[in-house]
């Protein structure tokens, strides 16, 4: 059994290496075709090593290490995502369990959900008088929708069977929420959170391009102004990898919360 597992692992490692090779190959071809306007993988690798040698340096407001930039973006996403989830989960539970709440809030959700979170940025600036607050504000807005909709769906689909258990044994409202509603809806809630954090991580890059200051989005924009395409390419790869890790993390939690009947 252990051996099979190892063979499987070896194969997936092999496939991973092959896809990395494919990426480098295509990249190289594009670099040659654009006559070096898009830097080659080798040139980018050199800059990457340089950046990694001191990721947390801080030489004033416009010159900070990639590690610091990344850390600030992750922190913002975490704060905005937490605030958004704290609003979305209880509201979703209310909408899922109460018809009136669903009728009242659902039209609002339908109208605001398709709006690009960036459109909220000026309102954030107005409200918080600073870019930091506005950025966290748009991440909060971004994190609302998927979690809200999935939570409401999960709660509204609680089978009659479990509700009957609750009425037959006279469960209190609190016991019903804690022992039936939340456990049943949890996989749906986690799915919502997983989708939300994915979008939040996408939006933070655009948000920081608008807000400036510090962060991975600002880093991309700043590198463009400095005409350092290598740095932009590196940033794209890093953004992708962090996004992947966030997704994997929620995937793991999702697997832990799934129950079978």
């Amino acid at each position: 059994m252990k051996q099979i597992f190892q063979i499987k692992n070896t194969f997936s490692l092999l496939y991973f290496l092959m896809s990395a090779l494919l990426l480098v190959g295509i990249w190289k071809v594009i670099s040659i075709l654009t006559e070096g306007e898009i830097p080659s993988p080798a040139a980018t690798w050199l800059i990457f090593q340089e950046m990694l040698s001191d990721p947390f340096y801080d030489y004033g407001p416009n010159d900070k290490g990639i590690g610091l930039q990344l850390w600030n973006s992750v922190k913002r996403v975490f704060i905005g995502f937490s605030l958004g989830s704290l609003i979305a989960i209880p509201l979703g539970m209310l909408m899922g369990s109460n018809k009136l709440a669903m009728r009242l809030f659902n039209p609002l959700v339908q109208v605001f959900r398709p709006v690009s979170p960036l459109a909220w940025f000026p309102l954030g600036l107005l409200a918080f008088k600073n870019a930091e607050g506005a950025t966290i504000f748009i991440i909060t807005i971004t994190s609302l929708w998927s979690t809200l909709i999935n939570t409401a769906f999960g709660v509204s689909s609680i089978p009659q069977e479990y509700k009957n258990v609750s009425t037959a044994f006279g469960f209190s409202k609190w016991k019903y929420i804690v022992k039936i509603m939340i456990p049943y809806a949890l996989p749906h809630i986690i799915t919502g959170l997983r989708l939300s954090i994915g979008v939040a991580w996408m939006v933070i890059v655009a948000g920081e391009m608008l807000s400036g200051g510090i962060g991975i989005g600002f880093f991309v924009w700043d590198s463009w102004n400095a005409l350092s395409l290598e740095k932009i390419l590196i940033a794209i790869l890093i953004i992708g990898i962090v996004g992947l890790l966030l997704d994997k993390f929620f995937n793991l939690i999702q697997k832990l919360t799934v129950y079978e009947n």
Binding site: Y162, T167, A168, F169, G170, F171, K175, P183, Y259, N261
Partner: protein, 295 residues
């Protein structure tokens, strides 16, 4: 275990009259009517108009009696039972349980659902504990835990206490559901096709277990069960209510089962009375006995 139960009920009787909590008053008085169904009709509004499921049902069930409701699928057996549990409100008439009109579900009437209805995210122990905790709010945690332990032991599930429902066989799930219903110590136990999904062998042993629990409690609990298994009904019940086919189902006949208790599953089938009752029920329920009858 058994003696312990007897002692408990003796104490309850000697202190009698003054004690009137929902959970033990039935120990004071085992005489009289437990359930009184008066002129009950249930109708539902459907897209094709109003459909009446059961019509003008009258039925009295005595305390400590076991009654089986039998009939073809869709004849409204479950609906009739749900009017007792309070899950369904009668369109006409009323149901009186322990001298009170039923207005909704109450822990005074324990329910064992058709599909077990265990909460899949809770262990065997927790499934029973949450029910006990919800019903016996005033008891201390230690007492509630003891009640759960006692009922787990009665159905032989102590070794499986930390398992999740998905790790249990059908028979074990049903044991948990029955233990949960007994644990809240209701005066009435309602079972909706409780053994329908079990294989014949498991079913037989569950019948004996159910009667064991009923005996442990000095046969004080009134049990109403819905079934479409004739043998099961005869083995368990004091009376069998045979329903007409729906819609607007009524009671076709009530068959008494004067077989002596304790009944022995193996011996009972050889009694002439058993064969007589079995025949009677068959002819009430089935019109065609061979392909010849179909012509």
């Amino acid at each position: 275990m058994k003696t312990n139960h007897l002692e408990q009920s003796n104490i309850a009787t000697s202190e009698s009259i003054l004690v009137d909590s929902e959970n033990n008053y039935h120990k004071i008085n085992t005489q009289g009517t437990s359930i009184d169904i008066q002129d009950v009709s249930v109708s539902f509004r459907t897209s094709k108009g109003i459909s009446t499921v059961i019509k003008k049902i009258n039925l009295q069930i005595a305390k400590g009696e076991i009654v089986a409701i039998i009939g073809h699928s869709g004849c409204g057996k479950s609906t009739l039972m749900n009017t007792i549990s309070g899950m369904v409100t009668p369109t006409q008439g009323r149901v009186i349980v322990n001298n009170k009109i039923v207005v909704g579900p109450s822990p005074d009437r324990g329910i064992v659902f058709q599909n077990y209805s265990l909460l899949p995210w809770l262990s065997v122990y927790q499934n029973i504990y949450e029910a006990v905790d919800a019903v016996m709010k005033d008891k201390r945690k230690k007492e509630k835990k003891a009640i759960v332990e006692e009922n787990l032991e009665a159905v032989g599930l102590i070794p499986h206490r930390s398992k999740l429902p998905k790790e249990l066989s059908g028979g074990m799930k049903q044991r948990v559901a029955i233990a949960r219903a007994f644990a809240i110590n209701p005066s009435i136990l309602l079972l909706d096709e409780p053994f329908g999904a079990l294989d014949a062998l498991t079913k037989s042993s569950m019948h004996v277990e159910l009667l064991k629990l009923w005996n442990l409690d000095n046969r004080n609990k009134t049990i109403v069960m819905v079934t479409h298994d004739i043998e099961e009904a005869i083995f368990l019940a004091d009376r069998i209510v045979v329903m007409n086919d729906g819609p607007s189902a009524t009671i076709k006949e009530i068959v008494d089962i004067p077989l002596q208790r304790p009944r022995n599953k193996k011996d009972i089938v050889h009694e002439p009375l058993y064969a007589e009752i079995h025949d009677r029920l068959l002819s009430l329920l089935i019109k065609k006995f061979s392909i010849k009858d179909m012509e």
